[in-house]
């Protein structure tokens, strides 16, 4: 493959030089048409551009081997992107209503969105940050994806059988989060790490009581795979000092049972620049070090099961003192205000990005355990044992300015995003990884400029026990001059990077604009691991419950309108190109339950269903049943019609909804 590409480039370059604008299109020896050289010349494409195009172009009818599940940032959505073609395949509505999927416009999506209500207030957006796919033995299993909403401390569950949101969990004790979602190696728990400290339950407390009343709170959401839901009854939380815990990762292999979260405000700055205090940006960066939090979640689970918790708002919380007493919580210093806390594929090391320090700091799990065993540790102001840096650190690698987040490949390399340098650093892992690459361990190998201001970085299964290699994607915050000017709000730039084979240089292959929000993290899964439905498995499928709706009417002969007093039930069968019934008449003030079932079985024969004037629009995929419940508050003549172009007689697919005054 590599050889072919090289020879292609050689041939192209030769052609460019030799024949210029040849008009014939006979294939050359390599199979490349002669006019390809002319096109390359005309468009000013370099041989590297040509090979980048060949690496990313996906001919019609071929499908991408990788799927990226990306945060949708402030859109409150999740993006599904095919790789390496970098084409958006779907935008999943998660915390935000999404009309195409009918999510939040009358159907079951309304119920899911209502789970995200914050103290009775609808919050119909989200600041989605870190998607996390379900794992089995530390590898993605392609079943579920989870994502947090930083702005309101919520967690959502997406079922990858139909790529739609099934659950939103509102954290009852926190009002913002950041270090989520991260799963334990067998998805026992989805971890939601905190961010800005607040009193538990976000009750009012003045900032001068910050040390006493403000806290960090980490949540362990138990996941029930069979139900595809977070099981609140088996979930618990743990109280932490108000140090603004940031990103977390679960241990695996030897470090299975532990999680690691960094933090960036051990100074406990409370801001107040307007009062002459240092602003947060200065206050939180005063100390030379912050604390990497090292937590034994298996021990925490035992303590929770033993009932050594305090219930707040219905959630059992392991109090900080209990956590210390039960040997659940430890600290070790990390360079100040770091970002990223990433466990190596084998689970031996934890990599923390310096952000304000040009190094990544690598901690050895073995050393940490030895230090814990040896005991005799100094205590932090809250009494948390602190492992000295020289007892926990394996080494540091100097990469450049602004190291944030690290992912891994299958050749023993790590890839760290360098925000300030606007670059991706490839560096060699040491220890057991050293024999996988020619370089010595713990050395910077190459830096690749990216455009611009890279935040997170993601690699093919690059945060799992078995990374896939081939590509990383730089999730750039700025695009500046990469795309045509479309005004002052610019798209983000997802940059596909070829990490090639050992010894080869990394190359930027493709710029993908994201013009709907600023995403944070993304994960990339091999497409073959996903086993989504082509159509729902049975007619009458309730996609929220992922089971057949026993009340679904699938026979047009049984469809119709039933009335019991003021309650009207409409049983509607949907199939190309008509609704049965096509006339629904109710009285003003009636309570209407409108149940629709698509009896289609053909892939992609999706119908929509909108009722004018009632803010209703649903997507009814083949086999799906949806139920709408509403009060007929406005009288008049309304139409309902199919909103997804389904067939040649799509426009004729409608009915009249008459509401008598």
């Amino acid at each position: 493959m590599k050889l072919k590409l090289v020879s292609l480039i050689v041939i192209l370059t030769t052609l460019l030089a030799a024949c210029g604008g040849s008009a014939t299109n006979a294939p050359t020896a390599s199979g490349l048409p002669v006019d390809a050289a002319a096109i390359a010349k005309e468009r000013g494409l370099s041989p590297d551009d040509v090979s980048a195009a060949l690496k990313t172009y996906m001919p019609s009818g071929k499908t991408d081997p990788y799927i990226m599940i990306a945060s949708g940032g402030q859109s409150g959505q999740v993006l599904v992107i095919g790789m390496p073609s970098m084409r958006i395949l779907k935008v999943i509505g998660v915390f935000t209503p999404e009309p195409w999927q009918g999510y939040g416009f009358g159907g079951s999506g309304d119920k899911i969105l209502a789970e995200g209500t914050v103290n009775g207030k609808d919050v119909l957006w989200g600041d989605t940050h870190h998607p996390s796919m379900s794992e089995t033995k530390g590898e993605y299993d392609g079943q579920f994806a989870f994502i947090n909403d930083k702005s309101n401390a919520r967690l959502a569950v997406i079922d990858l059988r139909d790529f739609s949101t099934k659950q939103i969990v509102k954290n009852p004790n926190a009002i913002n989060d950041h270090g989520g979602a991260f799963v334990t190696p067998n998805t026992e728990y989805i971890i939601e790490g905190p961010q800005y400290a607040a009193p538990i339950g976000w009750e009012y407390a003045p900032l001068d009581q910050y040390k006493e009343k403000y806290r960090g709170l980490i949540s362990f959401w138990a996941f029930d795979r069979l139900k595809g839901r977070v099981d609140m009854d088996k979930s618990f939380q743990m109280e932490l000092p108000p140090y603004w815990q940031d990103l977390c990762d679960a241990g695996k292999g030897p470090s299975d049972g532990w999680i690691f979260c960094n933090s960036f405000n051990t100074e406990m700055a409370t801001g107040g620049v307007e009062l002459g205090n240092p602003p947060f940006e200065a206050g939180t960066t005063k100390n030379d070090t912050d604390y990497l939090h090292i937590m034994n979640w298996k021990k925490a689970e035992e303590v929770f099961k033993a009932g050594k918790t305090k219930k707040v708002n219905g959630m059992p919380i392991i109090e900080m003192d209990t956590a210390i007493k039960e040997n659940i919580l430890y600290f070790t210093p990390e360079p100040k205000s770091p970002h990223g806390s990433d466990v190596t594929p084998g689970g031996e090391y934890i990599v923390v990005g310096g952000k304000l320090d040009p190094h990544v700091t690598i901690y050895s799990f073995e050393k940490i355990q030895a230090a814990i065993k040896a005991g005799n540790l100094n205590k932090d102001v809250y009494g948390v044992p602190v492992i000295p840096l020289d007892k926990s650190m394996e080494t540091q690698v100097e990469l450049g300015l602004g190291p944030l987040h690290t992912v891994f490949d299958n050749q023993g390399y790590a890839y760290t995003s360098l925000f300030l340098d606007s670059a991706v650093a490839r560096w060699s892992l040491g220890g057991l990884y050293e024999k996988k690459h020619p370089e010595p361990g713990w050395k910077l190998v190459q830096k690749l400029p990216v455009q611009y201001n890279i935040g997170h970085i993601t690699a093919v299964e690059g945060d799992t026990a078995n990374p896939g290699g081939n590509f990383v994607v730089a999730l750039n915050k700025w695009s500046i001059d990469r795309f045509a000017n479309i005004g002052p709000l610019l798209p983000q730039n997802f940059q596909l990077v070829d990490i090639g084979n050992t010894g080869e240089k990394m190359k930027v292959l493709y710029d993908m604009p994201i013009g709907m929000a600023e995403p944070h993290y993304a994960q990339i899964i091999k497409a073959e691991r996903l086993k989504p439905f082509e159509v729902y498995p049975k007619v009458g499928w309730d996609a929220e419950k992922m089971a057949v709706d026993p009340n679904a009417v699938t026979d047009p002969k049984l469809a119709g309108v039933k009335r019991e007093g003021k309650n009207v039930t409409v049983n509607m069968v949907v199939v190309r190109s008509h609704f049965t019934p096509e006339r629904v008449e109710v009285n003003k003030g009636d309570h209407v339950v409108w149940r629709l079932t698509s009896i289609e079985q053909q892939r992609d024969a999706t119908h929509g269903f909108a009722i004018s004037g009632y803010n209703i629009n649903l997507s009814i995929e083949p086999g799906k049943t949806e139920v709408i419940e509403f009060d007929a508050t406005q009288s008049g003549t309304f139409t309902y019609y199919c909103t997804e172009f389904c067939s040649a007689l799509h426009l004729e697919m409608l009915g009249y909804f008459l509401v008598k005054p």
Binding site: R576, E600, Q601, Q602, A605, A648, E652
Partner: protein
């Protein structure tokens, strides 16, 4: 082929005193039983199929017709057919499908009976089997003709389509669909069974005619 040769010393003694080998009599019985078995197997595989191709169905839509049921993209084909007012596929040949299993078992039993009937009546018993594939195809043609001539003029596109008969074998065109119809393994088995029956009957005659003739000679006044 030595193992197929039964003991050459074991002979069948004919009424006229002449002898034949055992093989002579086992062969027609075996052939009739094989034909019977082929008919039984044919119930489990499609007799006929049709695949319809259109741009929006890259894999095509297929219906497989078994003697006792239909399978394949029946749901989707019905969905499309409703636009031109054609009846659901399931409505054609309902009676035939309902009696098919018992009928084929009966045909098989007739062949087995032929093993025990050692005169020309065996051929009469096998006659329905010989006629079976022709009857099947005639019935299929009738069903297809009925489909193509039952277009409901009140349907969405019914008035735009002239009555037609989809081809039993080979290609046809309906709207944007190209159709390809073909015989399935079941029909090949049925036709094969007929050939095996004919062969069996030939050997049957070769084996038993001398006995029948000898008996006649014995009974006839000297």
């Amino acid at each position: 082929m030595q193992f197929l040769n039964l003991d050459p010393d074991v002979k069948v003694l004919l009424p006229d005193g002449s002898t034949r080998t055992l093989n002579t009599y086992l062969l027609p019985s075996a052939l009739l039983m094989i034909a019977s078995l082929m008919l039984m197997i044919s119930m489990f595989v499609p007799y006929w199929g049709m695949t319809m191709f259109a741009p929006q169905y890259p894999k095509g839509l297929t219906v497989d017709v078994y003697v006792n049921h239909l399978s394949g993209d029946v749901r989707e084909i019905d969905e499309l057919n409703h636009y031109i007012g054609m009846p659901p596929l399931d409505e054609g040949g309902r009676i035939e499908r309902s009696i098919s299993t018992i009928s084929i078992v009966a045909l098989g039993l007739l062949l087995i009976a032929g093993v025990f009937v050692h005169n020309q009546w065996a051929a009469i018993l096998a006659l329905p089997v010989i006629g079976y594939p022709i009857i099947f195809m005639a019935d299929l043609f009738y069903i297809l003709y009925t489909y193509g001539h039952s277009i409901d003029p009140k349907s969405a596109l019914g008035s735009a389509i002239k009555p037609f008969t989809p081809p039993i074998f080979g290609e046809g065109v309906i709207g944007q669909f190209k159709t390809v119809a073909y015989a399935g393994p079941g029909l090949y088995l049925a036709v094969g069974a007929v050939l095996v029956v004919l062969l069996g009957l030939w050997f049957h005659r070769a084996a038993y005619k001398p006995i029948v003739d000898a008996r006649k000679k014995m009974k006839a006044p000297q």
